[in-house]
């Protein structure tokens, strides 16, 4: 029953949108009827999504999608998250979030009516394209042809609280760029008469960027504790795909910030808006077509890939075509000879786009080579580390001096203080690194990170009088975001350069010492949980003969899908993580790998600061 409601409301939503677009050519809709149609269609799409979720929650195995991806013994949270833990459901989630954005945008006040309606019409067209995609190639409401009692279960690796919320948040980021895209196109169609779209676009692009940041961080944190490889970023194709719209979106947010007062860089902003959404759809295509093998590609099906590729070409082609036909008149030129915030931001924007395009090429290059020459090659972490990081470093450097630059003139404030600070930090880090292990990237990263934090702090102190209220928070918000970046850079540098690892073969009751911490393997136990069997090694961590913590690490066996997952045990301290992985048993000994990841928590703290600052920025009028 719920499948029928879901399918019917999805079809109705598409029809409503189609009627709206069609009728717009013939009759002038008044605002009220227009809004009614948009909102009805949005609500219908959301109803469709919730009826699928309902089918999952009550384990309605007459629905083929539920049968294939759920199991009645799963905990409730994984029944809910099972809704988007498969190709069909995740595409329905994609379209539902598209509708939610449209719904929210339809409530925006104080903007030009024509601009608003055109934005929503473009949004509706995207909705129709993806709605048809769902109905024709990935319908989650198919009826199971045989009557069954039990489902096949959800991929165990996805049964994790972090991953349960990762897709909706990430999609809120990806799909949010649709509204930025629609606004950019609507503004082009309006011959750029509308001046206030920049402030509207700023808000929506910041919302998307903030959700995308949170989504990527969640995915990365999940990879850290669930994959059990000791790292948190692997330059996996799927990670690269999420990073591309993120960097392009970062460039967009900064450009919009700069365009605050005047009509500067309009061409560039529209280009970036189109690029961000194109990259989002391209990412959807690469992941969903099954060209890339990863945990995200649930099922590969050539027709789906082709369909999304078609949608990608329609939307991107349409976007860039309008851009070329109706290019805005060139705005006031920026003087690159000036060393000010504007030119620093433009150079940073260029660097970000170079980084984005490099990641894009690196990600699809193996596919291109395989198609052209039939050879298989890999483009992995070492390639990206040696290209993307050097491209980004001048950008971080510019970022650290940005606070002392002024917006318009060539003047540099407090320059002496900054140079002095930079030299002092460099020498402290250099001396410190001589007493520990020396590494060029490590030293460079530490100097940059500390310097960005300090420079931002100096600006906060020197730019504001002491009165603590929310307005001040909004004023210093950019510096807060930059402090977050600095903190994250320190975390990234330390955890990747100064990581230590130890391999041990031990038995129950054995003790070993790692970096002045005593660790003992107390016992190994097997337990039966609701939907899996667990093997856990209990580690006791002692420091100065006092018990500090007990950590469990091990593996899970999921009988329904016959899969084993690694469950890393992590002891968090503010300055390091002790990370345990338990391997196989050999000759009565257990293979145990211990990683010491210094300052890894700084990455998540830094990202959290960025996300919070993103929300503060959104709340700004």
């Amino acid at each position: 029953m719920s499948s029928l409601i879901g399918f019917a409301s999805l079809v109705l939503a598409i029809l409503f949108n189609a009627y709206l677009i069609f009728s717009n050519f013939f009759i002038k809709n008044n605002g009220k009827v227009f809004n009614l149609f948009i909102r009805t269609s949005s609500v219908l799409t959301i109803i469709s999504f919730f009826s699928l979720m309902f089918a999952y929650v009550v384990s309605d195995f007459s629905n083929f999608n539920v049968f294939q991806n759920s199991h009645s013994e799963k905990p409730l949270i994984y029944k809910i998250s099972g809704t988007w833990g498969n190709h069909e459901g995740s595409m329905l989630l994609w379209v539902s979030i598209l509708s939610i954005y449209g719904l929210l945008f339809s409530f925006t006040k104080n903007i030009d009516l024509k601009f608003k309606q055109e934005t929503l019409l473009i949004q509706s067209s995207i909705h129709i394209l993806f709605g048809l995609f769902i109905i024709f190639t990935s319908n989650p409401f198919l009826i199971n042809s045989v009557i069954v009692e039990e489902g096949l279960g959800l991929n165990p690796i996805l049964q994790d609280p972090g991953l349960a919320v990762h897709p909706p948040i990430l999609y809120a980021g990806y799909v949010g760029y649709s509204i930025v895209f629609s606004q950019a196109i609507a503004s082009l169609l309006n011959h750029n008469k509308n001046k206030d779209w920049i402030s509207v676009a700023k808000k929506w692009s910041l919302i998307s960027w903030t959700f995308l940041t949170a989504g990527i961080a969640l995915g990365s944190y999940w990879a850290y504790y669930e994959l059990g490889w000791g790292g948190w970023w692997f330059w996996d194709p799927v990670e690269n795909i999420s990073l591309m719209p993120w960097i392009a979106g970062l460039a967009l947010v900064h450009s919009l910030l700069m365009a605050k007062g005047e009509q500067l860089l309009k061409k560039w902003i529209i280009f970036l808006s189109i690029l961000c959404f194109s990259l989002s759809i391209f990412g959807t295509f690469l992941v969903r077509s099954g060209i890339l093998t990863s945990v995200h590609s649930f099922a590969s099906d050539a027709s789906r890939g082709l369909f999304i590729l078609l949608i990608f070409f329609i939307i991107t082609g349409f976007g860039f075509l309008i851009f070329l036909l109706k290019t805005p008149e060139s705005s006031k030129p920026i003087n690159f000879l000036f060393i000010n915030k504007a030119s620093a931001l433009v150079i940073n924007n260029i660097l970000m786009i170079i980084a984005t395009l490099t990641i894009l090429l690196g990600t699809i290059y193996p596919i291109i080579v395989e198609v052209l020459t039939n050879d298989r090659i890999s483009v992995g972490g070492p390639y990206f580390n040696s290209t993307v990081i050097p491209i980004m470093i001048p950008g971080f450097l510019l970022m650290s001096i940005a606070p002392i630059l002024s917006w318009q003139t060539n003047k540099v404030r407090n320059a002496r203080l900054y140079v002095l600070g930079f030299v002092v930090i460099s020498f402290i880090v250099l001396i410190q690194s001589y007493f520990s292990t020396f590494n060029t990237w490590g030293v460079l990263g530490l100097i940059l990170g500390i310097w960005i934090i300090l420079a931002s702090c100096i600006s906060i102190i020197s730019s504001s009088k002491i009165n603590y209220d929310f307005k001040l928070l909004q004023k210093i918000n950019p510096y807060i975001a930059h402090i977050g970046v600095g903190v994250a850079i320190i975390g990234i540098t330390c955890s990747s350069v100064f990581k230590n690892e130890y391999e041990l073969n031990i038995n129950e009751g054995d003790k070993f010492q790692i970096e002045n911490t005593m660790i003992s393997l107390e016992k190994i136990e097997m337990t039966n949980e609701i939907n899996f069997q667990a093997l856990r090694a209990n580690f006791l961590i002692e420091k100065n003969k006092k018990i500090v913590a007990r950590i469990k690490a091990g593996k899970n066996y999921y009988p329904v899908s016959k899969m084993i997952t690694t469950e890393a045990g992590i002891f968090h301290q503010w300055y390091r993580d002790i990370y345990f992985i338990v391997g196989d048993q050999k000759d009565n000994n257990w293979f145990v790998k211990v990683y010491i990841n210094p300052f890894v928590s700084f990455i998540w703290v830094g990202v959290l600061i960025m996300v919070l600052s993103g929300f503060i920025g959104i709340s700004k009028r």
């Binding site: 030129p333 972490g381 320059a415």
Partner: protein, 125 residues
């Protein structure tokens, strides 16, 4: 203007001091093995390097790499050997050959292109 320039000079000097220091550093056998195996793909895993993986395949390759280094083979020779045996797919860092030149040149092409763009804009003003 002046202080910005001095800032730049200070940074560049420090950077080159660092770079030159690392060249003199001696690397042990295990460090060499780590550096190389981090750049190799575990063919039986999903996007994991041989160094990070504990799979049978990875442990075999680690042994091979270690013994080849002991024989006095260079990193390049070992890579050559592995590519002949398993194909280029094993290298996470693609070789600089006719197939991949575009991949490696691309960032520089973009950089040169944007430099031209900026200088064009400056001249236009």
């Amino acid at each position: 203007m002046k202080s910005y320039l001095s800032y730049k000079i200070v940074f560049i000097t420090i950077y080159f001091i660092f770079l030159s220091l690392e060249i003199f550093a001696n690397t042990t056998l295990e460090e060499k093995v780590k550096k190389l195996t981090l750049e190799l793909r575990c063919m039986t895993c999903q996007n994991q390097s041989i160094y990070d993986s504990e799979a049978e395949f990875s442990n075999d390759i680690k042994k091979i790499v270690r013994s080849k280094f002991k024989e006095g083979k260079s990193e390049k020779e070992i890579k050559q050997f592995l590519v002949e045996r398993y194909g280029e797919y094993i290298l996470f860092k693609p070789l600089l050959n006719y197939k991949n030149w575009f991949l490696w040149a691309f960032p520089f092409i973009l950089l040169v292109f944007s430099l031209f763009f900026i200088s064009y804009k400056i001249r236009k003003n």
